[in-house]
């Protein structure tokens, strides 16, 4: 099984990447390559959303890629949010905690709410 990656960057502040298949030792390099093209499209302080609803499996190598991606985004003051992982993937996140649980969302609404919250915090005077 392999990995397929699709991305969309409708606005510089937010890009979404859809992952489908397996993110493991055999495919993580492909993922890293693809993300090297996507991350520069996101502004500093922007948000990169990884839609994991079609991701069937993630291995520790995949987790490392996600952690690396998150670190790179954080270095540019950006955020990496994970959306709607399947239960088995969610379970891996829960166990390994390679990404903070707070950055994993079950739905777009939840994610938007979180982003709204962040923005309000940033724009609120003295916030």
């Amino acid at each position: 099984m392999s990995l397929s990656i699709r991305s969309e960057s409708p606005q510089p502040s937010r890009s979404t990447v859809w992952l489908e298949g397996r993110l493991d030792a055999a495919t993580y390099l492909e993922f890293d390559d693809a993300m090297r093209d996507v991350t520069p499209m996101v502004d500093s302080g922007g948000t990169l959303v990884l839609d994991l609803s079609a991701l069937d499996y993630i291995s520790s190598a995949g987790l490392r890629s996600l952690a690396l991606l998150r670190k790179q985004m954080r270095d540019r003051d950006g955020r990496t949010l994970l959306l709607n992982p399947q239960p088995q993937v969610k379970k891996v996140f829960d166990i390994v905690k390679a990404v903070p649980v707070a950055e994993v969302f079950a739905s777009v609404a939840e994610l938007d709410q979180y982003l709204d919250h962040i923005q309000r915090q940033m724009t609120a005077p003295g916030g």
Partner: protein, 636 residues
């Protein structure tokens, strides 16, 4: 095999192709030339026959004129008939005999009524009379026929014994005053002159001439035996229909031994026909000879062309032959050879140059491949050394503490030469033993290096700690330093108090261990903290449980729980629990490890391991202690 060479095949092809063209065009030319030759022969024959015909005509016309003049003269000068005919015979040497015969008056012929003049062999003229004929002349057919010839006519030839001595008579009625005719004047000529004339004709050597009379008999023929015989039916019908020239064959009934061509023309003033017979073989002999000569010359020319083609092709192909040999060299792996110097810019030149280039490139590739292979060999040997070093980082697979209370057994199976899974154990002070099983995120050399770092750090850091939580926190902080590649390791750390069997567990994102207590195998629910190396602030809660005698704790990496082959389902913790539960009571940790590994191997059915595997089983032997199981969770 001569035909294996392209050059000889080309030459042979040229030869064969040209030969076919030559034969076909030659055949067409032959047929055309044959027509022309036949036409020419016909014209030639017609000319000869025409000239012979005029000569014959001239001669017999003279005879006819003499007879006509005589007929007129004796008609009025009856009495001088004898003198007239004698004089006429004297001045016309071609005539053999002249006679004048009158219709007898009152049925009785008188002397002088039928005088004849005949030339004797010596040339002397002898007078005679028809009255001496054995049959009365007025009843003879020649006389009666002559009476009917107002304009003169040739009588059928008369032969006296031998055919060559034949004579023909020209008769003409003598006009009378009172009666229409009063007699007949006739002149006889011998036919030997005709025969002689045929012989003197300027005709081709192989041709023979003949003269046919109106009844279809040969008056004269070069083949003297034919004289006086009747011509063959095909010839006669051709003469009747005026078809000239005509081809007559023995099969059609011609009196010939081979196919002949006959051309003929009628002789004016007579009802004779003169013809020339030419054997077809002779007519076409020249043609055949010419054709054969042409054919031989053509063949010689073709062979010459083929030889030239062969030579040129050989010359052109010579470098190709060398190239073919060299290509065989290449096929056998020999790339070190000389190629002929080619300055030509044609296909052969290009091919040679490309071949040379290809050879050099191939040599380069082979060299690169050899170097790569050597490099790979070197890397493989380095990996093997690395593997041994990595294994040397780990403690012995089996360990029994001094009291014999704690027995543990571990196994590490990297998927490749080196791997990122690890296990380790060491004593913490006198009364504690620390065990760890971990899994670096990734495989191969980076994972192995990270693993080495982890194991080394763990031993160093753990000496000052007693709680697995502290150990993990310290280790995590160290691993986070400079970890730009975001490598991380999940680690399960347990500390056993050797005296009591109290086990404290902390997990950094690692798989839950399996506890075999009594007959059951359960997962020990350890709340995990983040994997080591990612978040320097991470905290790790501990889980405390008290082992009873014979309890075995199995720690493993995801190489076990996620073992699979191809698209197979993952092995899973349920299968693992089942596998552990099936192990008989009082088994050694070694048995647990071996059983688990064997079950995993059976599950993947010999497929290549997908991930590194580390398994560690620790058994608490304390039959004397029968305390209640202490189970507590503490947060650091």
């Amino acid at each position: 095999m001569v035909l294996r060479s392209v050059a000889s095949r080309l030459a042979l092809g040229v030869l064969l192709g040209s030969a076919i063209v030559l034969i076909v065009t030659g055949g067409l030319m032959l047929s055309h030339t044959r027509e022309q030759m036949l036409e020419q022969t016909r014209r030639e024959a017609a000319a000869i026959a025409e000239s012979a015909s005029s000569r014959i005509h001239g001669r017999i016309d003279g005879v006819a004129r003499v007879v006509r003049v005589l007929a007129g003269q004796v008609g009025t000068r009856h009495a001088q008939a004898a003198t007239l005919i004698r004089d006429a015979l004297t001045v016309n040497p071609e005539i053999a005999e002249i006679g004048a015969a009158f219709v007898p008056r009152a049925g009785q012929a008188h002397d002088g009524e039928a005088p004849t003049a005949r030339r004797k062999v010596g040339g002397a003229v002898v007078m005679g009379s028809h009255l001496t004929d054995p049959q009365p002349y007025w009843t003879s057919p020649w006389f009666i026929q002559g009476l009917n010839c107002d304009e003169g006519c040739w009588q059928p030839p008369e032969r006296r014994g031998i055919p060559l001595d034949a004579q023909v008579r020209y008769s003409m009625a003598i006009p009378g005053q009172a009666v229409p005719v009063q007699g007949v004047v006739d002149a006889t000529i011998r036919l030997d002159w005709l025969q002689a004339l045929l012989g003197s004709l300027d005709k081709p050597a192989h041709a023979s001439a003949f003269v046919l009379d109106r009844d279809g008999e040969f008056l004269a023929h070069d083949w003297t035996s034919y004289v006086g015989t009747r011509a063959s039916r095909p010839l006669l019908s051709a003469v009747t229909e005026g078809r000239t020239p005509v081809r007559i064959t023995p099969e059609e009934g011609g009196r010939v031994s081979e196919p002949v061509w006959v051309a003929f023309v009628p002789i004016r003033g007579t009802r004779w026909t003169i013809g020339l017979t030419m054997p077809e073989r002779e007519v076409l002999a020249d043609l055949r000879r010419t054709y054969l000569v042409d054919l031989v010359l053509g063949m010689l020319a073709l062979m010459g062309v083929s030889l030239i083609a062969l030579a040129i092709t050989r010359r052109l192909m010579a470098p190709l032959t060398v190239l073919a040999d060299r290509a065989e060299n290449v096929a056998q792996g020999d790339l070190d050879f000389a190629l002929p110097e080619v300055r030509r810019d044609d296909e052969v030149g290009r091919l040679t140059r490309a071949f040379d280039q290809m050879r050099h490139q191939l040599a380069g590739h082979i060299d690169t491949a050899r170097r790569t292979a050597r490099e790979q060999e070197r890397i493989a040997s380095e990996l093997e050394i690395a593997r041994q070093i990595q294994l040397a980082l780990l403690p012995a697979p089996h360990w029994l503490d001094g009291d014999g209370r704690i027995e543990l057994h571990a196994a590490l199976r990297p998927a490749s030469a080196v791997g990122g899974d690890l296990y380790t154990y060491f004593a913490l002070g006198a009364r504690h033993v620390c065990v760890m099983v971990g899994d670096v995120s990734d495989k191969g050399i980076p994972a192995a290096l990270f693993m080495a770092r982890t194991v080394t750090l763990a031993r160093t850091l753990a000496t000052h700690a007693r709680s697995p939580s502290d150990i993990l926190q310290a280790l995590n902080r160290e691993l986070c330093k400079g970890n730009d590649t975001c490598m991380f390791v999940t680690l399960l750390c347990g500390v056993v108090e050797t005296g009591t069997g109290l086990l404290t567990l902390a997990s950094a994102g690692h798989e839950q261990p399996v506890l075999r207590a009594g007959d059951s195998a359960v997962l020990v629910d350890v709340e995990t903290g983040p994997a080591l190396g990612l978040d320097p602030e991470a905290r790790y809660p501990v889980r405390v449980l008290s082992l009873l005698g014979g309890d075995t704790l199995l720690m493993y990496t995801d190489g076990v729980s996620e073992a699979h082959a191809g698209n197979q389902r993952l092995y899973g913790t349920d299968a693992l629990l089942e596998s552990v539960a099936r192990v008989e009571d009082d088994a050694t940790p070694e048995t647990y490890v071996e059983r688990v590994l064997r079950d995993v191997d059976n599950y993947v059915e010999g497929a290549l391991a997908y991930d590194d595997i580390a398994v560690l089983a620790i058994t608490w032997h304390d039959s004397g202690t029968e305390g209640a199981r202490l189970d507590a969770v503490a947060h650091s």
